[in-house]
């Protein structure tokens, strides 16, 4: 559902009073800055929501489960998200 970005843009438009196009720019810039920051290897902390961390993975041998073919997985970096306590509690409250 790619509609969520639109929903966020609308809420910024309604709540903050920025124009639609400004709201869209803010959302795009926000995601872009987060991506660039993670690319540089730096973590991002958004208090009340969570933390994005970059983890280095070393190369390892893997196997394609479908063909059982052996292959080498290259060393790579992945993003890990850690939910903040506030968000975790609020999600578990009304269940």
């Amino acid at each position: 559902m790619a509609l969520t970005k639109e929903a966020i843009i609308n809420s910024i438009y309604n709540q903050v009073g920025l124009s639609k196009s400004q709201s869209r720019i803010v959302v795009e810039k926000l995601l872009e800055i987060i991506k660039e920051t993670l690319k540089s290897g730096e973590n991002i902390l958004i208090s009340g929501f969570g933390k994005f961390e970059v983890k280095e993975k070393s190369a390892r041998r893997g196997r394609n489960p479908q063909t059982t073919e052996d292959l080498q997985l290259r060393a790579r970096r992945v993003v890990v998200f850690k939910t903040s306590g506030v968000l975790r509690n609020s999600i578990n409250k009304q269940s």
């Binding site: 559902m1 790619a2 969520t4 970005k5 929903a7 966020i8 809420s11 910024i12 709540q15 903050v16 920025l18 400004q22 709201s23 720019i25 803010v26 959302v27 810039k29 926000l30 995601l31 872009e32 800055i33 987060i34 991506k35 920051t37 993670l38 690319k39 730096e42 973590n43 991002i44 902390l45 958004i46 208090s47 009340g48 929501f49 969570g50 994005f52 970059v54 790579r76 970096r77 992945v78 993003v79 890990v80 998200f81 939910t83 968000l87 975790r88 609020s90 999600i91 578990n92 009304q94 269940s95």
Partner: protein, 89 residues
């Protein structure tokens, strides 16, 4: 990078006041939270997807005392990086 630094960067890049940038980010986080709570899924194209997944109740053990305890069913937020983000790293 913390939220305050993020606010400063956004303000600079989208030519907004810091106050507006901060309000915008707060609104973003607010909707993101509400969406996760309601629909258990939040997809941001080009960035990634947040999904709420359920954990069943299970038995755990206090490693120090050896005492068995019940762990309640809970929900956790999981993030899957999108293709664009993965390739960037």
């Amino acid at each position: 990078m913390t939220k305050a630094e993020l606010v400063a960067e956004i303000a600079k890049k989208s030519k907004l006041s810091k106050a507006d940038a901060e309000r915008a980010i707060n609104s973003f986080v607010d909707v993101a939270k509400k969406t996760l709570k309601k629909e258990a899924r939040l997809a941001l194209a080009g960035f990634g997807t947040f999904v709420v997944s359920k954990r069943k109740a299970r038995k755990g053990r206090n490693p120090r005392t050896g005492e068995t305890i019940k762990i309640k069913a809970s929900k956790v937020v999981r993030f899957k990086a999108g293709k664009a983000l993965k390739e960037k790293l």
